[in-house]
Structure formats: structure tokens, C-alpha cells
């Protein structure tokens, strides 16, 4: 967490399921310490992009690298060791296990570092999400949706990532909880962590990001600074539901 963020470079990435290609040549860069978002509607391939980066889905073409270290066709267990940690869609917590055990498992790839380092990292995520410390002994499946999302983020942080990937962290959560989680993302970015955020809520994502990419049917159709994208007419019309800032289109 206190480590310097790495830069993530995705070049011409293609992948898919069976013979169906979902990603069709994706170019994305996240510089060290940046918060970059990929927005787009349902089915654009955003989740597939993250799954391909960590290796759940195998790339058929293109490359992924972290600080010039090639990560193409890696596996999720190797990616987390290299410092790329994914907060997956649906959170994928270990439901019957306690909050604390989930966090300890989060540090699995770093468990050579010993107990002292583990305790320190636990303290660190507890300070980011105090509610997790209150619930430490409770099983993960008994947490509220917002708390589960916090646990998912905290678990990913336990691996001391240099690049954090998040898949729709706001999905299904109350505005207050979303604000809390995004506030934490801001803080992590301020500390120098590189973050790639996939979101359907374009307005929310662009408000917190440095830069953004717009994805449509497996391709990047637009990119720019978050401010530019927020001001872009197409983005406003399609993803923010506004036209020249006057009325809602609907």
C-alpha cells in the first residue's frame, strides 16, 4: 500500500470466450499514481478487459505489461504476486470465513513476510475501513453490501498491490457508501497507488479519475482527461444522460 504505484500498459489486447472475440484491440495506459477509469455501457467488454489483464481470460493477441515487465497470458495467482490485484465484480468474498480470515487470505501472496508485517497491513486496512475492524470476527456473508465491497477492496489491498483494478465497485450500493469507498480510492491514489477503475456510473467515475477511456463493443472509442470527457458532447449524451448540461434527455 505504501509502495510506489506501477505503470500498466495494455497494447492491442484481444480476448474473448470461445470463438467470440470480446476485446478487439484495446490500448490503455495507467501511469504510476494515476486513477484511470474505463466507462461504457453494459456488455462493452469492461469486465473482460480486467479479467484478461489478470489472466482469468486468456489474451489472443496484444500485450499487458507492468513497469515494462510482461504480464501477457499470466494467471491470476501470478498477477497478484507481481502486484496487480483485482477487486472483482460480485466481490467474490470467502463468505463463510470471518472478515479477518478474508483479509489474511488477501495477504496470501505476501505471507513470506511474517506476522509483524501482516499485523501492520491489517491495521492499515482497518484504519481505511474502521467498520471492518468492528466486524473482524463476523463471517463475510453476514456483512451488508457496502461492508462487503469494503472488505473486497481491503482484501485486495492486503496483497500490497502496485496496480489496483476495480470492477464496478459502486454496483448496487447506497450513495453514502459509494462516497465512502470512492473517498478511500482518492486517498489511495494520493498515496501513489495506480488504479484502473471500470464503472458504469460514468459521472461518478470521471469525477474521481485523472483520465478516462470510453469503451464500446470491445473497442476504445474515446479517451482523454476526465475533465475533457465530462465536457464531451457524446459522453454527456450517451453516458451522462445530458445534453449541453441543460436537461435530462429522458
Amino acid at each position: 500500500m505504501s509502495e510506489r504505484g506501477a505503470s500498466l500498459r495494455v497494447k492491442g489486447l484481444e480476448s474473448g470466450y470461445g470463438r467470440v472475440n470480446v476485446l478487439r484491440g484495446i490500448d490503455i495506459e495507467v501511469h504510476s499514481g494515476e486513477l484511470v477509469t474505463v466507462i461504457g455501457s453494459n456488455g462493452a467488454g469492461k469486465s473482460t478487459l480486467l479479467k484478461t489483464i489478470v489472466g482469468f481470460v486468456t489474451a489472443t493477441a496484444g500485450s499487458v505489461s507492468v513497469d515494462d515487465r510482461d504480464l501477457t497470458r499470466t494467471t491470476p495467482e501470478r498477477a497478484v504476486g507481481i502486484g496487480v490485484s483485482l477487486v472483482p465484480e460480485g466481490r467474490m468474498l470467502f463468505g463463510p470465513m470471518s472478515v479477518r480470515e478474508n483479509l489474511v487470505l488477501g495477504a496470501y501472496s505476501k505471507s513470506g513476510r511474517g506476522e509483524a508485517s501482516l499485523a501492520q497491513d491489517l491495521e492499515r486496512v482497518y484504519s481505511l475501513f474502521p467498520v471492518l475492524e468492528e466486524r473482524a470476527g463476523q463471517s463475510a456473508e453476514t456483512l451488508s453490501g457496502g461492508e462487503q465491497q469494503m472488505l473486497a477492496v481491503a482484501r485486495a489491498l492486503m496483497s500490497k498491490p502496485r496496480v489496483l483494478l476495480l470492477d464496478e465497485p459502486s454496483l448496487g450500493l447506497a450513495p453514502k457508501v459509494i462516497a465512502e469507498i470512492f473517498h478511500t480510492l482518492d486517498a489511495l491514489r494520493a498515496e501513489g497507488l495506480s488504479i484502473l477503475l471500470v464503472e458504469q456510473d460514468a459521472k461518478l467515475a470521471l469525477k474521481h479519475a485523472d483520465r478516462g477511456y470510453v469503451m464500446r463493443t470491445g473497442e476504445i472509442v474515446l479517451s482523454g482527461t476526465a475533465d475533457d470527457l465530462l465536457a464531451d458532447d457524446d459522453v454527456r449524451l450517451i453516458y451522462l444522460g445530458k445534453w449541453h448540461g441543460k436537461d435530462d434527455v429522458r
Binding site: 482469468f56 494467471t75 491470476p76 495467482e77 470467502f94 463468505g95 470465513m97 505471507s111 456473508e141
Partner: protein
Amino acid sequence: MGGSELLQFVISGLKNGSIYALVSLGFTIVYASTGVINFAQGEFYMLGGMFSVWAFATFGLPLWLAAIVGILLTAATGILFELLAIRPRKDGDQLSLIIITIGGSLLLSSLARHLFGPDELAIPAFTSGPSVRVFGAAIERQTLWIWGLTITAVVILNWVYNKTKLGRALRACAINRDAARLVGVDTRLIVTVSFALAAALGGLAGLSVAPLTQTAFDAGARVGVKGFAAAILGGLGNPIAAVAGGLMLGLIESMSIAYLSSTYKDAISLLVLLLVLFVRPQGLFSRSRREKV
């Protein structure tokens, strides 16, 4: 039936039940990490006995060493089995994997017949001496060994599951494989480890009962069915339930001998298996199958 007679049946039931519990644990451990029923589990039981006999009789190793060699060789067989038969089909569906385990079971028993011959073999009891008498019932010394070894194995396994990094990885894998991979667990290694553990437990069962029942190349199938029934009875995927299921099945069998006839002993476990599958397919002690958040 008198009290001491009944007690004798309970003792016998708990003896067989301990064996079923160990075999059932093997089913549960492999199922938890792969989602597959390993029908070769009974052969690990057979191999545990055969390897020990072989180490003891052919190489003249002391009995305790022969037992350890038996467990280690059985565990090694489990690892080889996973590497050669299961891992290459990692993307295969579960049905094909289950069929592979059935084929593997046949292969292992045939190999054992070639290596060790068709005859029944035995090793001496771990400690000699007369039975221990308790309230008019007799407990053979080997039965005490079986109980002691079973309890030791369960305690160690419980410690590994709850207190070690490996155990956490095994449980994580059972709850959600993809999530386990996300935090860095090498799930392929975990599958191999679970086969090794399952084989070692089966081997332990086979060699600790070998002084009482003798063993032969075809001893695996019958115990495999019992262990499977016990695992289903308890509820697959939960180690404690697997042990409870094993002990219960042993007792049920023993009571059926006491009150019905020994003719039906083997049919009872199949009957229990069917009843559980019809009435309570998740097992007696299981909350639900694989939980996801």
C-alpha cells in the same frame, strides 16, 4: 440382548466407523477442492494395507516403519494419480473426471494384483496381548490403535485446516476457486495436495485395519462404497460431518447385525446412501452446498 453384548456391537460399530470416517474424509477433501467424487478413494485404502504388508514382509522393516512407508507410498500414489490422470483434464467437465476416477480405481486394483498377487495378506497387530475388557465387552488392542490413530489424524487435519496457511488455502479453494486464485492461491497445487491428503488418510485406514481383516487387491471397492455413503450421510465438503457420517454408518451397520442379521450388513450402507440422497441430499450436517457471496 444384554448390556455387555450391546456394548460389544457399539465397539465394533465404532471400530468400523473410524475406518469409514478416514475414507470418507478422503472423499470430502478431494470433493472440496475439485468438486469431483474420487471413486479411486477405496483403492488408497487398499494400497495403504498392501504397501505396509510389502514393506513389512518383503523388506523386513519394523512394523512402525512399514506403516509409515505404507502411508507415504499411498500418498505418493495419490499425487501421481492426480498429476497423470486428473490434471491433464483440468478443463474437462466434472463428469469426465469422475469417470476417470472410476477407471483409475480399476487400474490401481489391477496393478495391485500384479504387484502383490491375488492372495489375502496380513500384518501382525501393532501391539500383541489380550483384549481389554470393559463392562463385560472385549476391545481388541488393534481397535484401540484404530481409534487412537483416527483421532490423531482428525486432530492434525483440523489443526492444518484452521491454523495453517495451507489449510486456509484449502478452505478458500473449497469456497470459491476463482477468489482463491485472485489472492494468489495456486489452485492446481491445492488439488494435488488434497489428493495426497486423501490418499494418506485412506492408506492409514487400510493399514490400521489390515491386522484384523487382512487385505487383498480387491479390498478397496467395498470400503470405497462405505466411505462414500458416509461422506454423503454427513454432507460432502465438511470434514467434521464426514467423520460423524463415518461413525454413524459404522454404528448403523453394527446395530443392523445386532437386531437383524449380518447378511444385510453391506446392503445397509447402500440403503443409507439411497435414503439420504432421497430425503436429505445435502447430508445430515451440512448447511448447504458451496456457498457464494
